[in-house]
């Protein structure tokens, strides 16, 4: 089924100089370019209004750039009915606002929608629904109407709805917003499992310490442009860039600088980005054996 145009290409999704303005004239994207590699865990970060959601709507063909090109597996997106159907069965998008995505009052029915649209048999779809309910940890919500659910619960139903379609690429627009810490861990673990199974996972988020621990690649957006593409470590080395984009470094990183300033840790080393990195340094300095 999957026809790869050029077996040598590595980039899965590519945007080249895409421009987009909303009907009211607001700039959504401003000559944005970015590349996403197959099978990676990618974090998209940026201040509010930097264009994350707008970019996502371009990646699944909902919005069409005014200029520039988007390529999936080396082929430009095909905006015909058939092309979009194919694209959306391979790229799943979990929307930022769950009330927009959930159309049925029944949790199960809503989750079954995507699989049935992909042409799965009712039996297969049923199996997907059961599995999705299970992995997202909402089996107990099966018989609840959507309108009684909490916001975080609704978010999980949305994730289940896309999970059930088993897309090759899953894009999640702030999936962790509103989730409790345990719920967030649960979803991150789920995303890791998807990643291990070969899915490319793209998500936008604001928690930099999660970016540091979770992401393999980071893309930073600022006013509709890409200002950084690379690994988290090299991003956090660029304080001024982060500052300019209204972002923060993860707390272990800041803590390290504070400890250096207090003379407790030696300067000149690469700053750690997560808790275990910081603990290692402290350990090396104070618990020399």
């Amino acid at each position: 089924m999957i026809n790869i145009v050029n077996p040598n290409i590595h980039s899965l999704l590519e945007a080249e100089h895409i421009e987009f303005a909303y009907p009211d004239g607001t700039t959504g994207l401003n000559r944005l370019s970015m590349t996403i590699q197959q099978g990676r865990k990618v974090a998209i970060v940026g201040a509010n209004g930097s264009g994350k959601s707008t970019l996502f709507l371009h990646l699944n063909g909902t919005l069409k750039p005014r200029r520039g090109a988007i390529r999936f597996q080396g082929k430009e997106l095909d905006y015909s009915r058939k092309g979009l159907r194919e694209l959306r069965s391979r790229i799943g998008l979990v929307f930022q606002d769950p009330d927009v995505q959930l159309f049925s009052a029944s949790v199960e029915q809503d989750i079954s929608f995507g699989p049935l649209n992909m042409g799965l048999s009712p039996a297969e779809a049923r199996q997907r629904v059961d599995e999705a309910l299970e992995v997202t940890g909402i089996g107990d919500l099966r018989h609840r109407p959507v309108h009684g659910l909490s916001y975080g619960q609704k978010k999980r139903v949305c994730i289940a709805g896309i999970y059930a379609m088993k897309p090759e690429v899953i894009i999640l627009d702030e999936p962790l917003a509103w989730l409790d810490p345990v719920g967030a861990k649960h979803i991150l673990a789920l995303l890791d499992r998807l990643h291990e199974a070969g899915t490319t996972v793209i998500m936008s988020l604001h928690q930099m310490d999660i970016v540091a621990r979770w992401a393999q690649d980071v893309i930073v957006l600022h006013k509709g442009e890409t200002v950084f593409e690379g690994n988290p470590l090299s991003l956090f080395a660029q304080d001024d860039l982060l500052h300019r984009c209204g972002l923060e470094t993860p707390w272990p990183h800041e803590m390290y600088h504070d400890l250096v300033r207090m003379g407790l840790l030696p300067p000149g080393e690469a700053a750690p980005v997560d808790k275990s990195g910081l603990l290692d340094m402290i350990n090396r300095k104070f618990c020399k054996r």
Binding site: G92, V100, F103, A105, E108, S112, F113, A125, P145, I162
Partner: protein
């Protein structure tokens, strides 16, 4: 009232019984009360419904009775007029106003009470269905009965978005109240105007966003979903 019904529909003891069977039961009750103008039949239907609802569906009798009072009030005003007549022959009670004699005839009274009971029997049957069947199951039943898809899809969306709209309205009112929106009459008028205008705009935007989100999951012409898993 909508909320009481909806809550019970999702939480009653007969929730997971097949909607076909519940639909059939309601239909039988409806036909019985409408086609037999006998108080005994209507009363039996009402009592059976009450029994089914309380024993099988475990819905408190009070809830059912309270819900019945709503249509009962309407029906009562409608049927009372039938009981009255001008110069009744077999008057149970009468009075004269100027030169007219107005009274309740025995026959009129009987007709009125039969009509009232028949309507109540029919209403009770319908209540049985709506109180025990979640809306999504009812829609499934309509689909099985080959109702045009456009209609049932619309029902599904209307149902879901009734609640979205209610929640949005409630949230907006709470937000306005938190900033003293309804403290004075002038404030109230202004707040209400803003509320109405914004609800309209939000609904329009919502419908657009909904379409986008449906399309992202492959929506083309039909809202295909699985029947709810029961039991």
């Amino acid at each position: 009232m909508i909320f009481t019904i909806d809550q019970w529909a999702w939480s009653n003891g007969l929730r997971d019984t097949s909607p076909r069977r519940k639909g059939l039961a309601a239909l039988v009750g409806l036909i019985l009360s409408l086609s037999f103008p006998l108080p005994a039949v209507s009363v039996t239907v009402i009592i059976l419904t009450a029994l089914l609802l309380t024993v099988k569906a475990r819905i408190p009798l009070r809830t059912f009775l309270k819900l019945m009072t709503v249509p009962a009030a309407f029906l009562l005003t409608g049927t009372v007029t039938i009981a009255f007549s001008l110069s009744p022959v077999d008057a149970v009670w009468q009075t004269s106003i100027y030169s007219y004699v107005i009274g309740i005839s025995a026959q009129g009274l009987q007709e009125a009470s039969t009509l009232l009971l028949r309507s109540l029997g029919a209403t009770a049957s319908l209540y049985f269905f709506v109180l025990t069947t979640p809306m999504v199951d009812a829609i499934e039943l309509f689909n099985d009965l080959r109702t045009p898809r456009v209609l049932t899809d619309l029902m599904l969306l209307t149902y879901r978005f009734t609640f979205v709209l209610m929640e949005t309205t409630q949230a907006m009112i709470t937000a306005q109240e938190a900033r003293l929106g309804y403290t004075t009459t002038a404030n109230s008028f202004r707040s209400f105007g803003i509320l109405a205008a914004n609800l309209f705009i939000r609904s329009l935007l919502r419908s657009r966003d909904l379409y986008t989100a449906l399309a992202a999951r492959g929506y083309e012409d039909e809202l295909r979903v699985l029947p709810r898993k029961r039991g």
